[in-house]
């Protein structure tokens, strides 16, 4: 089975995955209403039922679901053009296109190689050991063809610890979940707060990471969340006596 035929049964859509994809791209279904996590769970259920992992299908699924997640997360976050001029609309799509084209290229090359190998079916080479007379090497015939320096150099290379990767050219990991957790806990020590309050003046990335941190707080049972309507402000309240929160935060 291919990813395309993965049967989905979601609230907003029921049918094969490729149809959903088409409808999303044709804007006939709002991506914001599609629960991507449920699609992933459907796929995992399907894998479990099948009991084996077809890597090619899994790759295709990962590429598609990653693309959908990326589009959806951009739809959900407020834009900040001034701050991130490098995220032009369409740029992510261009990048995705380039990657899909590259993957496609090697998938076709792979088909060519597989066909080539199949075409050589029946052409066998001999793999018998040499006759005993040819297997004996006369030590006296063996001259020095290698320099011992090569060995010292190879070992020296192995002693070298590789340089640390420079992440200087990446702008994304400027803010960590841990930082935003600390920030949220500090706010909660003073009592209830709201998401808008927690991300006041923050850029897009910080907003996203703060949301992660908030979900983490909720999971840990440190806070309760209330949202009256979609896109409305989220009210955040400490879920436990303040002493406990302080204890966790310290």
């Amino acid at each position: 089975m291919t990813v395309a035929a993965l049967e989905l049964d979601l609230e907003v859509f029921s049918g094969p995955f490729d149809l959903l994809l088409t409808l999303v791209l044709r804007e006939e279904i709002d991506l914001l209403e599609v629960p991507l996590a449920e699609i992933v769970i459907s796929y995992l259920d399907h894998l479990e039922a099948r009991g084996e992992l077809d890597l090619e299908v899994a790759t295709e699924f990962l590429v598609l679901i990653a693309a959908l997640l990326e589009l959806k997360s951009r739809l959900m976050l407020p834009r900040a053009d001034e701050e991130l001029p490098d995220f032009e609309p369409g740029e992510a799509a261009e990048e995705l296109l380039a990657r899909m084209l590259e993957a496609q290229r090697y998938r076709r090359a792979a088909q060519h190689l597989a066909a080539r190998l199949a075409g050589e079916e029946g052409v066998r080479y001999r793999s018998a050991p040499l006759p005993p007379a040819l297997r004996r090497t006369n030590l006296a015939d063996a001259g020095a063809v290698y320099h011992p320096r090569r060995l010292g150099a190879a070992l020296g290379g192995l002693l070298r610890v590789p340089p640390q990767l420079s992440l200087g050219h990446l702008t994304i990991p400027r803010v960590t979940t841990a930082e935003r957790l600390t920030h949220l806990r500090a706010l909660l020590r003073r009592g209830a707060t709201t998401f808008d309050e927690a991300v006041r003046g923050a850029d897009r990335v910080t907003v996203a990471v703060t949301l992660f941190a908030l979900l983490e707080l909720y999971k840990q049972g440190e806070a309760t969340l209330t949202q009256d309507e979609p896109f409305g402000d989220i009210a955040i309240a400490p879920a436990t006596p303040r002493s406990f929160v302080q204890q966790v935060a310290s």
């Binding site: 804007e27 899994a58 589009l71 090359a109 190998l117 050589e120 052409v123 066998r124």
Partner: protein, 194 residues
């Protein structure tokens, strides 16, 4: 029949790998023109349909191989297939190594979108790819082997079609672009309204 032709035939029979004309010349003490003449004589003897064996130009040299006419019987006698077919993951990994060599495993992973550990390990075990040094970050680089050329019937890597041949057609690319860009426009439009 010339003695040189007989000797060359014997050397091709014994050698586990394809043998270059230069190596045949050195071993026989003849010059490369003489070896080429002997090979031409052998070519006539091994004309298609004549023998159970054929003379193949592969992996930068000459090798004796069986004619596919014997495959069924060979499988019964040796009780093993020639070489199992490639899984799609292995074929893709091999294609990337063949065209981009030397190439690191992280780069293969980036192109394929999934980890390539198991496919590259299998390809290495089967002797299709081998290590070719390390990248500046210490990641192992891979290249294809002579065995790869031999089993795929290639004389050299030049025998592979140009990589551009596998690019999607302009129409396919335009269609894919259109679909993606429309999603992008929607995103811009919707997001502006948030």
């Amino acid at each position: 029949m010339s003695e040189l032709r007989r000797i060359v035939e014997a050397l091709l029979f014994l050698s586990p790998d394809a043998v270059s004309v230069a190596d045949l010349a050195e071993a026989t003490g003849c010059d490369t023109d003489e070896v080429a003449t002997a090979l031409a004589e052998l070519d006539r003897q091994y004309a298609p349909g004549e023998r159970g064996l054929q003379l193949k130009r592969v992996a930068g040299g000459i090798a004796l191989a069986t004619d596919p006419v014997a495959e069924e019987a060979a499988r019964r006698l040796l009780a093993k297939p020639r070489t199992p077919p490639l899984t799609p993951a292995q074929a893709e990994t091999l294609a990337i190594v063949a065209y981009l060599q030397p190439v690191s495993r992280p780069e293969i992973t980036r192109i394929r979108g999934v980890a390539a550990e198991s496919a590259s390990a299998t390809l290495e075990e089967r002797g299709f790819i081998e290590e070719a040094g390390r990248s500046q970050f210490g990641a192992v680089l891979y290249r294809t082997t002579d065995l790869f050329l031999r089993l795929f019937g290639l004389e050299s890597l030049k025998g592979l079609p140009e990589v551009a041949e596998w690019d999607p057609s302009p129409e396919e690319e335009a269609e894919l672009r259109d679909r993606l860009l429309r999603a992008g426009e929607q995103r811009a439009g919707d997001a502006a309204g948030v």
